[in-house]
Symmetry: C2
Subunit: 227 residues, 2 copies
C-alpha cells in the first residue's frame, strides 16, 4: 500500500496529482493523509517530524519497499520513484535523447533555480509584516531591495526561459509528464505571489495542466493548491 502524507496548500500537492494520474492510467491505489498547517505560523505540524527527520511534506511510504527503507521524502525523488516503479509504459517520463534532457532539466530547475528565490521572497515578506512598527519601514526596504535583485536577476530570467521553451509545445518535454508536475507548483506559486506579467505561453500551459482530469481529481481529494 502507498500512503502519501500531504501538507495542505503545499508543494506536496504535486504528489497527489501524480498519484491521480497513475490511478487514472494504471488503477494504482493509494491512501491520502492530509496534515493541517499550524493556524498561527502557517508552518508544517510537528507530527511530520515523526515520519521523516526533515519534517516536511511530501512524505511517501510504500510497503513494497524493503523494511526500514519504506519512507521517502523530497518531491523530485518521489516523482522519480513513482514513475520508475509504476509508470511501466513510460507515459510520464522519457528516458532518452532531447526529451530526456528537457525532462531532467526542468525537474531539477524547479527546485534548483525557481523555488529558492520565490520562497525567499515569501519569507522576507512575512518577516517584514512581523517586524515591530518602528522597524517595519526598514524591513520592507530590505525585502524590496532583495526582491528587486532576485526578481530581475532570477525569477524573471526563469519565466522568460520557460515562456520561450513553451513556444510550439504543449508540455515541457513534449508529452505531459513528471517535469510538468514539478514545475507547475513552482510557477503557480510565483503567479500567486508576484504575477506572471504578460507571458501567454506560460498562462496557456498552466491552464492545460489545470484542465487535466488528474489535476482536477487531485484538487477534489486534497483541497485548493494555495491558501
Amino acid at each position: 500500500m502507498i500512503v502519501l502524507h500531504h501538507l495542505e496548500k503545499s508543494r506536496s500537492f504535486r504528489i497527489v496529482w501524480l498519484l491521480e494520474e497513475l490511478k487514472l492510467n494504471y488503477g494504482l491505489d493509494y491512501r491520502l493523509h492530509i496534515h493541517k498547517r499550524d493556524a498561527e505560523t502557517f508552518l508544517a505540524p510537528g507530527e511530520l517530524k515523526e515520519l521523516h527527520p526533515m519534517g516536511k511534506a511530501p512524505i511517501l511510504s510504500d510497503d513494497s519497499l524493503p523494511e526500514g527503507n519504506q519512507v521517502l521524502a523530497e518531491s523530485a525523488l518521489i516523482i522519480e520513484y513513482l514513475l520508475k516503479t509504476y509508470d511501466v509504459r513510460h507515459l510520464f517520463y522519457p528516458t532518452e535523447g532531447q526529451a530526456w534532457r528537457d525532462y531532467t532539466f526542468w525537474l531539477h530547475f524547479a527546485e534548483g533555480s525557481l523555488m529558492p528565490p520565490a520562497v525567499m521572497y515569501l519569507i522576507l515578506s512575512k518577516a517584514a509584516e512581523k517586524t515591530p512598527f518602528f522597524a517595519r519601514f526598514v524591513a520592507r526596504k530590505i525585502r524590496d531591495t532583495v526582491a528587486k535583485v532576485i526578481l530581475s536577476g532570477n525569477i524573471r530570467s526563469a519565466l522568460d526561459l520557460l515562456e520561450s521553451s513553451l513556444v510550439g509545445r504543449e508540455y515541457l518535454a513534449g508529452a505531459f509528464g513528471g517535469a510538468d508536475i514539478q514545475m507547475y507548483f513552482a510557477v503557480a506559486a510565483v503567479q500567486q505571489r508576484m504575477g506572471l506579467e504578460n507571458r501567454p505561453n506560460i498562462a496557456a500551459w498552466l491552464a492545460r495542466c489545470e484542465e487535466r482530469a488528474g489535476f482536477v481529481h487531485a484538487v477534489e481529494a486534497s483541497g485548493p493548491v494555495f491558501g
Copy 2:
C-alpha cells in the same frame, strides 16, 4: 569537444570535479573556461547570459549533441547528462534498488533542501552589511531572526540527517558518485559560512571527498572552491 564554463568559487566547481573523475577513469577530455566574478558585487559576469539565458554557471556545451541543443545548464542535469553519456561502466551512478533511491534523494536534496536556506543566509548577511548605518541594527535583527528559524528548522535537520545517513558508509549511495559531488558543495558551503558543529561523520566524508585525485586535480585546474 566538451567545454565547461566555470564561475570561480562557485557551485560549478562540481562539474570541474566530475569531469576530472571522468578524465581519470575514461580519459575524457574537456576544455575549461573560467569566468571571474564581478570584483564589487561578487556576482557572475554578464557574459554568461550570452551563453545561456539564466546567466549562471555551470554551463556545459558538448558538440556531440544535436545542433541547437548543445548547451546545458543546471548542475544536476549536467551531472546526470555526463554520467549517462560518458560513465558507461556506471562507476558513479547506481541505476536500481536502494542505492538508486539514495543517490537520487541526495542529488535532489542538495539543491532542493540544503542550498536554499544556505544561500538565503548569505544574501541576508550581505544585505545587512550593505544597509546604511542607521538601519543596520534592524537589518541584522531580521537576518538573525530568519537565520535562527532557518538554521534550527532546516539546515540543522539536514545536517543531522546527513550525519546519521553516513553511519557505516563511506559515500552517500555506498560507492562514490554524482550525489557526493552534488552534496559536497552544499555541505562545504554551510561549513564555510556557519560551521558544522560536532558532526564527525560529515567531517570524515568531506575529508574523503577532498582526498580524491579527481578533487585535487579539479582544484588545481579551477582554483579554490571558496573565496
